[in-house]
Symmetry: C2
Subunit: 368 residues, 2 copies
């Protein structure tokens, strides 16, 4: 069975990369729709992007009401906004939520249908060209074509996307991540690690994806100590931003496996930040998979500088601080929401619903 | 200064990948121009590609007169051939020469000008979509946008290309490399190694390019013993083909440095096979660069399993067998042809023409 490597996004990275490459915007048209969240006004990204657009004589409109874990309702509002004017291209500025919403906007601007239809992955009119500017170092959404929307009245998440929803261009300037609190910086770094681990362990893993995944492990390990501390140097932040992009390349090839599914109800129902939510079940997931993926998990542990799997929980635990407790009844609900999705993924071993339940029970702090 | 990672070619790899993905051809149109050399009839690639085209109801024309190290004259013939019919897309099948010629054909089919104008990199009509099918594991041309043509009456080489001459798609099936003699298999593997070393040592090296370069070193080192032997397993051949593509990704980001320049007159004037020609000067080049690039060269040596630079000459020497001898007068001519080009590249140390002369004198077997 043949395999594929495809990552068509042009990635430009380094401090001041937006200003240095302002001329590139001119190739996309005369009017940009900027999709972002209120916080992007504070980290400098929105200002630098609009300065670059001004320098090229490009007009813009701003939708800055992106919420974390975008809902169908918000995505419908965004679609209406995007169709109110004639935009030539879309610029997403923010974390995964804003960048994913920008993907939705690029489709909905030219396809007048409800956001719920995005999941059908049929785009009669080709999405507008998309540029992504991440302001967190975690999601890798700038190099994947998928976008996640919260569904079921806030109980689960679902994704849409095909190769045509890839961005054309991404600007990675870690200066925009400097205002992010350390807690969120740790969670986003964990999110990138989870992407790489899941892609690496997927039974659809490819040589090219695995090469990149192992680089993600190396860079994560190199910066683990710094992430445990109180602040990061600009160089470390730039490396972490690059690492999140690499991890995005991995899931763009292999997709995520059970862990991402398991995380969705934690985020949708209890508001657990995404990077934390994918990290909570990771140690138990690796333990359950160890029998079927010993060689790969040992390779991962070796790169992280760990000598046995038992150390992994503490290793990532130092970056996590989930204050929540969960009832057994809630766990049952998580299993019912995420279980089928989790066991249907390309996991390295066959999982059962009992495995899923055990992963939750051994990963979460129970209150009963 | 910002950096860039861009590799838009969709790469599909594995045994029988052409047949398994025949439907992909249908997206490119109704008539294909196949650009290849006579040998592709023997390795099965031409037959499998035309079977795939037939299965999709796509017609084709074949230009099978590609020569090694294509000249301007041959490229002009190819251009005329390409304009004689209305083709929708181009398929290059072969080693670097055929794949580079296919890039020329994709431009010349829709731009009626002499091949010599290619070097201006102005393509008033967008090149036809291009698909590349390598049948050697060395050049990486399937993922770079550059193409090399022999100029100056056969004394030197020059390249053209911009991002629009990138292929859309590449099929990597190592079964097509099985008819390649071991000697050429070794040379092409050395070519890939040279691409990775040059990109890694370039003063324009980027983190993403260096990540891939180090993977090339790892895969080369893993298969060095097998390359010294008499035959290769299909799995090793597939890995070497993937490695050549990786090395192509490296030079697509960083470009080659002095060593490629130094090789050009060896090939153009003495017919030294390209992979051999880039490998002959490599050890001396590394020795001259060592003072300015110690850390990187030590990292390269470490991955290759060597403890000191002095071992490198023997390590790649086991894969080389240049039977030529050269006069000092010839060396002077090589210096005059390639010297300025070599010292003007992004080398890790500043080279002089004396350095260039010394590299040639310490790398070639002299007859006087």
């Amino acid at each position: 069975m043949s395999q594929c490597f495809y990552m068509p996004v042009k990635v430009i990275y380094g401090p001041h990369c937006v200003a240095e490459n302002a001329a590139l915007f001119a190739g996309f048209g005369k009017k940009a729709l900027i999709v972002t969240s209120p916080s992007s006004a504070k980290n400098g990204a929105l200002q630098e992007v609009t300065e670059a657009l001004s320098s090229q004589g490009i007009a813009w409109g701003v939708f800055d009401r992106c919420e974390n874990n975008p809902s169908l309702e918000m995505t419908d509002c965004l679609g209406e906004f995007a169709r109110q004017d004639k935009y030539d291209f879309v610029i997403g500025i923010g974390g995964g939520s804003a960048m994913d919403s920008a993907k939705a906007a690029s489709v909905l601007a030219v396809n007048d249908y409800p956001a719920a239809k995005l999941f059908e992955n049929r785009f009669p009119h080709a999405p507008l060209p998309l540029i992504e500017v991440p302001t967190t170092a975690g999601t890798g959404s700038e190099v994947t074509y998928n976008a996640v929307i919260t569904i079921d009245g806030g109980r689960n998440k679902k994704s849409f996307g095909t190769p045509v929803t890839h961005a054309k261009l991404a600007f990675l300037d870690a200066r925009y991540t400097e205002t992010l609190p350390m807690r969120l910086t740790r969670y986003t770094a964990l999110d990138a690690l989870a992407h790489a681990i899941e892609g690496f362990l997927s039974c659809k893993a490819t040589p090219a994806g695995s090469m990149v995944a192992k680089e993600v492990f190396r860079i994560f390990a190199k910066n683990h100590g710094a992430l445990c501390g109180d602040s990061l140097t600009p160089a470390v932040r730039q490396e972490l931003l690059l690492n999140a992009m690499y991890a995005g390349i991995v899931i763009a090839q292999e997709r995520t496996i059970a862990v991402h599914s398991l995380s969705y109800p934690l985020t949708a129902m209890r508001g657990v930040q995404h990077g934390l939510a994918v990290s909570l079940p990771m140690a138990s997931f690796l333990e359950i998979c160890y029998s079927g993926a010993k060689e790969k998990i040992d390779e991962l542990l070796g790169i992280l500088g760990l000598t046995e799997l038992g150390q992994f929980r503490g290793y990532i635990g130092r970056l996590m601080d989930d204050k929540n407790t969960y009832t057994r009844a809630e766990v049952e609900e998580f299993v019912s929401i995420a279980g089928q999705g989790a066991i249907g993924r390309n996991n390295p071993v066959t999982l059962t619903l009992d495995d899923v339940r055990n992963i939750y029970l051994t990963s979460l702090a129970l209150s009963d």
